[in-house]
Symmetry: C2
C-alpha cells in the first residue's frame, strides 16, 4: 500500500441520468482500474440499459449541502432570523395561494366573457337562419383566438405549450427543464390559455392553471425573474433548491385547487402524482395554500353573483354539482359500474397509445419551423370549428318536455342552458347543439345533468363521443397551452352516459351519474391516479354518496390500464426525454450491485482536498459531471472528504479565491471572502472564466465548499435498494464506498 495513490473507488451518480425510470445514470469514471468485484449474476444486457439515455439537464439539489460555509451560516442564525425564515415560508405559501386564486379568477372571467359574446352572436345568426355567415363568424373568431395563443407560444415561450404537468413532475423529481418557470412563460400561459379555451379548442384550462401556480411559486421563490432580480433580504434563506421545491409543490397544489375548486384534491394530487418526496409539514403548508385559493375563488364568485362580471356565469364553488340526486343503487348495479371501469381502463390506455403516435407525428411537423407550428394549430382550430358547427345539423330536433316550456320556448339563456333551440322550431331543441355550442365546462355540466333520462338522443351522444375522441387526439399536441383533464372528462362522460342509456331500465343509477363515472374511469384509465382523482371528483360533484362506486370505478380502470401501458404523464415525460425515477425499482435491479454498475461505467473523476487550479479547470472542462468526490490521499490511506459541486467550483474559480501554496485554509479566511449566499447563486458557464497562467499554478482548498456529509452506500448494496434510497431521501448524488476498509489506520496515523 505504501503511498499507493489509487485507493478509493467512490462513485458519484447524478440523478439527471435517471432516464424514464430505467436507471439513474451512474455518472462516473474511475481514475484507476476497478477494485470492485463483478457479481456472477450480472448479465450484460442489464448493464446495457444503464445510462443508455442520459439527459443533459442539470438536476436540482434537494440534499442539504453540509459544507463548512453552510454550517457556519446556519449556526450564526439568530432566533429572530429563524422565525423570519419560518414566517417567510408561510408568507410565500400564502402569496402563492392568493395570486393563483386571483389569476384563476381572472382567467375564468376572461374566458367566459369572450366565449359568451361569441356564442351569443352565433346564436343570433342561427336564429336569423344565416347559417353560412354564422359559420364564417364562428370559424373566424376561433382562428383568430387560436392564432393569438399559438403565436405567443411559438414566438415567446415554447415551454408554455402543453399542460406543463409532466415538467412539474420532473422538476419535483429533481430535473429543472430550462425556461419552464419564467415570467414570460407565465404571461404567455395566462393569455394563451384564455385564447385557446375561448377558441373552443378541445382543451382545458386545468393543466395550464397548475403550471401557472407553479410559475408563480417559482418566481416568488426566486424573488423575481432572472433579469429583474429582486434582492429581498429575507429571500437569502430561500436560496436553495429544497425550499423552492416545497414552494413549487404548494404552487402545483394551488393550481389544481384553482382548476377544480378542490382543495383537498389539490393537496392529494401533489402528493400522489407530482411529488416524489414528502413531509408532514409540507402537507400542512400545501393545504394552507389551497385553502387560500378556495377563499379567493369563493370571494370572487360571491362578487360575480351580483352580475358585475359581464357574462360570467353560474359557476359556483362546485363545478359540476350533482348533489341534488339521491344515489341509490342495488348490488346488481355494481356490474355496470365494473363494466364502466373496465371500458375506461381499456379506452384510457388506448387513448394513451394513440396520443403518443399523434405526438410523434406532430413533433416531426413542429421540427420544420415556427410557421409549421402555427399552421398546424390553425388547421386543428379550423377542423374543430367545422365539427362543432356542422354536426348539430345532422341530428333530429327533440321536443321539449311540456313542463319545462317557458312561453312555448325551450329554456335556454343562450349560453348555459340545457336545451338549445339552434335550428329547431319553437318548442323543440337540438340536443347536440346543447353540447357542442357551449363552453367546454358547460358541456360537461350538461352531460352530467341528472334526472334527464330522455334529454339526449343516443345518436347525439355517439356523434359527440366520436368528435371528442378525434379532437382529443389531434388537439393536445399543438403549440398552445392545453390541459388534458377536460378533453378526457368530455370523452368519458359521453361514453358513460351512452352506457347509461343502453342500460335503460335495468339500472337504478341516474344517467348523469353514469356520465360522471365514465369521466372518472377514463381519467383513471389514462392518468392512473386514484386517490387524488377520487377526491377531485368528490369535490367536483359534491356528492359523498357517490364515493364508494367512484372508488370502485377508479380502482378497476387503473388496474386495467396498468396492464397495457404507463400513465399519460409518464409517456409524455419519456417523449420529452425528461428523466424520472420510478418509485418501485425494476426487478433486474435486485440482481445488480452498485459495485457492478460502477465497474461497468468507470468514469468518476475525483479531486483532492487541495487541488491545483489547472487541474480543477481541466476536470471541469473535460467532464460534464456536476459533482466530484473529494478524497484526500495520505501515505497508506485515504480520507473521504465529501462531494463538491460543479457550481461551487465554478464560483470559486470565478471569484479567484486561490492560495499561493498547498495548505488548508482557516475558517475565518473563507468566511471573509464567501457567504453561503454566494454558493447559492446560479452556476455560470465554465467558458466565462478567464484565468491567467499565474492563476493556473495556484491552489484551491476545496474543504470549505465540500459537502462533508454526502450519502454513501457500500459497493455490495443492490441497485434496487440504492434506488429506494435515492428516491426516498431525494438525492442527486450517491457515493459508492468500498466494503474494504482501511486496516489499522490508527497504527499509521
Amino acid at each position: 500500500m505504501e503511498g499507493n495513490s489509487k485507493p478509493v473507488e467512490e462513485q458519484c451518480r447524478d440523478q439527471t441520468g435517471a432516464v424514464d425510470g430505467e436507471e439513474h445514470d451512474p455518472e462516473r469514471n474511475s481514475l484507476h482500474e476497478p477494485l470492485l468485484k463483478r457479481s456472477p449474476t450480472l448479465t450484460s444486457n442489464q448493464l446495457a440499459m444503464v445510462g443508455a439515455k442520459v439527459s443533459h439537464i442539470e438536476s436540482l439539489d434537494y440534499e442539504i449541502n453540509e459544507n463548512n460555509l453552510f454550517k457556519h451560516d446556519w449556526r450564526s442564525r439568530s432566533r429572530v432570523e429563524v422565525l423570519q425564515y419560518i414566517a417567510l415560508k408561510w408568507t410565500l405559501a400564502f402569496l402563492v395561494g392568493l395570486l393563483t386564486g386571483v389569476i384563476a379568477s381572472l382567467i375564468n372571467l376572461a374566458i367566459e366573457n369572450i366565449q359568451g359574446l361569441k356564442m351569443l352572436t352565433v346564436v343570433d345568426f342561427i336564429n336569423q337562419k344565416r347559417y353560412i355567415t354564422g359559420f364564417a363568424y364562428f370559424t373566424g373568431v376561433n382562428l383568430t383566438l387560436t392564432l393569438v395563443a399559438a403565436f405567443l407560444c411559438v414566438m415567446f415561450a415554447p415551454t408554455a405549450a402543453g399542460p406543463g404537468i409532466p415538467e412539474i413532475k420532473a422538476y419535483l423529481n429533481g430535473v429543472d427543464t430550462p425556461n419552464m418557470f419564467g415570467a414570460s412563460t407565465l404571461i404567455v400561459k395566462i393569455i394563451g390559455s384564455i385564447a385557446a379555451v375561448a377558441a373552443g379548442l378541445d382543451l382545458g384550462k386545468e393543466g395550464p392553471l397548475v403550471h401557472i401556480g407553479t410559475c408563480i411559486a417559482a418566481l416568488l421563490g426566486r424573488g423575481g425573474t432572472e433579469k429583474h432580480h429582486l434582492r429581498w433580504k429575507w429571500l437569502r434563506y430561500f436560496n436553495n433548491d429544497r425550499d423552492r421545491r416545497d414552494l413549487i409543490t404548494c404552487g402545483a397544489s394551488s393550481g389544481v385547487c384553482a382548476a377544480f375548486r378542490s382543495p383537498v384534491g389539490g393537496v392529494l394530487f401533489a402528493l400522489e402524482e407530482v411529488a416524489t418526496w414528502w413531509r408532514s409539514a409540507l402537507l400542512w403548508r400545501t393545504f394552507f395554500s389551497t385553502a387560500v385559493v378556495v377563499v379567493v375563488l369563493r370571494g370572487f364568485m360571491e362578487y360575480c353573483n351580483s352580475g358585475r362580471c359581464g357574462l360570467f356565469g353560474r359557476g359556483g364553488l362546485i363545478l359540476f354539482d350533482v348533489s341534488s340526486v339521491t344515489v341509490k343503487y342495488h348490488p346488481m348495479d355494481l356490474v355496470p359500474v365494473a363494466v364502466i371501469g373496465i371500458i375506461g381502463g381499456v379506452l384510457g390506455s388506448l387513448y394513451n397509445y394513440l396520443l403518443l403516435k399523434v405526438l410523434r407525428l406532430y413533433s416531426l411537423i413542429n421540427e420544420k419551423g415556427r410557421l409549421y407550428k402555427l399552421l398546424l394549430s390553425l388547421g386543428v382550430s379550423l377542423f374543430t370549428s367545422v365539427c362543432l358547427y356542422s354536426f348539430p345539423f345532422l341530428v333530429p330536433c327533440s321536443r321539449c318536455e311540456p313542463s319545462l316550456l317557458n312561453d312555448g320556448i325551450c329554456p335556454t339563456n343562450g349560453r348555459t342552458g340545457n336545451f338549445k333551440q339552434f335550428n329547431c322550431p319553437a318548442g323543440y331543441y337540438n340536443d347536440l347543439a346543447s353540447l357542442l355550442h357551449s363552453a367546454n365546462d358547460d358541456a360537461v355540466r350538461n352531460i352530467f345533468s341528472t334526472s334527464t333520462p330522455t334529454e339526449f338522443l343516443p345518436i347525439s351522444l355517439l356523434i359527440f363521443f366520436a368528435i371528442y375522441c378525434i379532437l382529443g387526439l389531434v388537439t393536445f399536441g399543438i403549440a398552445v397551452p392545453s390541459g388534458l383533464f377536460l378533453p378526457i372528462i368530455l370523452m368519458g362522460s359521453a361514453y358513460g352516459r351512452l352506457l347509461g342509456l343502453a342500460m335503460g331500465s335495468y339500472t337504478n343509477i341516474d344517467q348523469g351519474l353514469y356520465a360522471v363515472l365514465g369521466a372518472a374511469s377514463l381519467m383513471s384509465g389514462s392518468m392512473r391516479m386514484t386517490v387524488s382523482l377520487c377526491v377531485i371528483f368528490l369535490e367536483l360533484t359534491n356528492n359523498l354518496l357517490l364515493l364508494p362506486i367512484t372508488m370502485l370505478v377508479l380502482l378497476i380502470s387503473k388496474t386495467v390500464g396498468d396492464c397495457f401501458n404507463p400513465s399519460i404523464y409518464e409517456i409524455i415525460l419519456e417523449l420529452k426525454g425528461l428523466p424520472f425515477l420510478d418509485a418501485k425499482p425494476e426487478t433486474w435491479m435486485r440482481n445488480l450491485t452498485v459495485g457492478d454498475l460502477a465497474a461497468a461505467k468507470p468514469n468518476v473523476v475525483s479531486l483532492q482536498g487541495i487541488e491545483k487550479v489547472a487541474r480543477v479547470l481541466e476536470v471541469l472542462k473535460e467532464s460534464n459531471h456536476n459533482g466530484f468526490p473529494v478524497v484526500d490521499r495520505d501515505v497508506g490511506m485515504t480520507e473521504l472528504q465529501g462531494l463538491v459541486l460543479r457550481a461551487h467550483l465554478i464560483t470559486v474559480l470565478r471569484k479567484k479565491w486561490f492560495l499561493p501554496e498547498r495548505r488548508r485554509t482557516e475558517e475565518w479566511e473563507v468566511r471573509e471572502k464567501f457567504t453561503s449566499v454566494d454558493l447559492a447563486e446560479k452556476a455560470r458557464k465554465i467558458e466565462e472564466i478567464e484565468l491567467t497562467e499565474e492563476d493556473m499554478e495556484m491552489y484551491i482548498d476545496l474543504h470549505p465548499f465540500t459537502n462533508a456529509t454526502p450519502y454513501t452506500v457500500v459497493e455490495s448494496m443492490s441497485v434496487a435498494k440504492a434506488v429506494v434510497l435515492f428516491r426516498e431521501v431525494g438525492l442527486r448524488h450517491l457515493l459508492i464506498v468500498p466494503k474494504y476498509q482501511a486496516a489499522g489506520v490508527s497504527s499509521t496515523k
Copy 2:
C-alpha cells in the same frame, strides 16, 4: 497496518432506542479504541440526551434483509408465485376492509340496541315520575356494563384499554408493543367497546375501531394467532415485517373509515398521523380497503333501514349531516371563526396538559392492582351516571315551537329526538336532557343540528360543556377501551355552539356550524392533525362549502396548540415509554456527527464472517443488541460483510447448523438446511438454547444469513441527516463507516 486487527469502526444503531424523538439510541460498543475524531462543537449535554431513555422493546425490520437466502428465495420465485403474492396482498386488503366493516356494523348494532333499551326504560320511569327508581336503574345498568368492559380488559387483555392509536403509531414507526395485536385483545376490545359506550361513559368507539381494524390486519397478516398458527402456504411470502406493516396500515385506515364513515379521511389519517413511511402503491391499497369498508357499512345500513335491526337508528352513511344548511358567510365572519380557532388551540393544549396529569395520577392508582383498576372504572361510571341523570333537572323547561308540535307533544321518539320531554309538561322540552339522555352520537347530532337557534339555552350548553370537560379528563385513563375523538367532539361542539349563541345576530353562520367548527378546532388543538381531520369533518358533515372555514380553524388551532405542547398522541407515546422518531430532526443534531455519537457510546459488538459458536453465544448473552456488524479481517485490510440479526443468530444456534472447521459454506449447503421461511420465524429466547461443550468449539459461517447490504453512513455525517435517512427509508440499523478508506487494497490482494 500489517495484520493489525482493529481497523473498522462500524456502529450499529437500533431504532428501538429512539425515545420520544430525542435520538435513536446509538446502540453499540467499539471493540477497540475510537478512531473517529471528536468535533470541537460537541457539547456534553447534547450527548447526554442521547440514549438517556432506551426502550427494550425489539424494533421491527422494515428493511429488505438482502442475505443470500433471501436472494435465492427471491430469484427462485416463479412468475405464478409473484402473481400469487400480489393477489394475496390485495385479498388481504379486501378481507381487512370486509371484516372491519362487518365488525363495525355489529358493534354499532349492539351499542344502539343496548343503549336504546336502557334509555327507553329510563324514559318510562321518568314519565311515571319515578325519578329515584329511574336513577337506580340507569346507574345500575351503567355500572354493570362498565364492570363487564373493565373486567374483560383487566383480566384478559390489559392492552385493550385506551384507544390504541398511539401504539399503532409506534408500530408503524417500527416498535411492536407486546400483545397489542393479538386475538384476545381483539375480542376484548370488541366486547369492551360495546359495553363501555353503551354504559354512557364519555368515550367513543372511534379509537377502538381503529385498533380493531389493525388487530384484524395483524391477525390476517400472521395467518392466525400465535397459538393456532394457520400454515397457509401463500402466507410464507408474508413472513416479513414490511408486508405486515403495509397490511396494518390498511387496517388502521379501515378502522378510521369505519369509525367516521370517512374513506378518504381514513387514508389521510394513516398518511398524516400514523405512518412514518409511505409509498404510492400503499396509498392505493389502503384506499381499496376503506372503499370496501364503506360498501359494507352502506349495505348494512340499507338492510337496517327496513327496520330489521331492532332499535338501530337513523344513522346513515353520513354521521352528522349538516348538508342541508346553505353556508353563507361574510368576510367579517372570519373573525369569530379565527377566535374559535384560537380558543380551540388553547383549550386543546390545556386539555393535553391536564389529561397528562390525570393519566399520571391514574397510573399510580392502577399500579396498585387489578382491583383498584376495577374500582376506579366503576367510580368513574358512577360519577358519570350521576352527572348525566341529575343535571337536566336543574335547567328550566323550554316551550316547543308550535310548528314542531305533534299532537301537543314535542317531537321525540324516545331516543334520538332533539326535544326530550323528560321532566317537563306536555308541549315543553328539557334541552339538557336532549343532550345528556341520549347516546353520544345522538348528542353530537343534536348539538350539530342547524336552523335551531333557540333550541338550546345558554345555561344548558354551559352545564353540558362543564360536565364533558370533567368527564373527558377523568374517563380516558380508566381500564376500558376508549376513544378520544368523541369526548373531544362533544366538548368542542358545546363551546362552539356557546360562542355562536354569544355572537347572536352579529354573525351569518348557523349555530350548528359553530358547533361543528368548535369540535374541529378542539380536535385540531389536541390531536394536531390538519389535512386528515379536515377531510374527516368534510365527510362527517357532508358539506363541502364548509371546507374553507374548517381549514382556517384547523390551521389556526394547530398553530396555537403547537406553541404549548405536543399532540395528545405524542404525550401518550411518551407516557407509555414508546420510542418514536420525529420527522423533523432537532436543531442540536446538526452540530453533532454520527462519529461523535459513536465515540460517546462506544459499545458496538461486531462479529467475524466465520465465528466460533462460543463467541456467538457469548455475544448474544452479554449484549442486548439486535444487530451485529459482520466484518471479515484479513491481513492488511478488513471487509464489511454486512449486518446479522440477533433473531437469525438464535435460529442458527437453535438449529445447530455448525461447521467442524473454519470455512465458508457453499450456497447449496445452506439451502439444504434453511429456507427463508425459517429465518422469518419469530425469535426465540437465548435461554432456550442448549449447547454441548463440543458444539461450542465448532464454527458458524455467518455469511449466508448476513444482510449484505445494510444502509451505511460515513462518520462525518451529521446526526440530523442520519435521522432523516433513518426515517425516510424506514431503518432499524444504520452502520457508520469511517471516512478513511483502505489504501491500495488492490496491491495487497
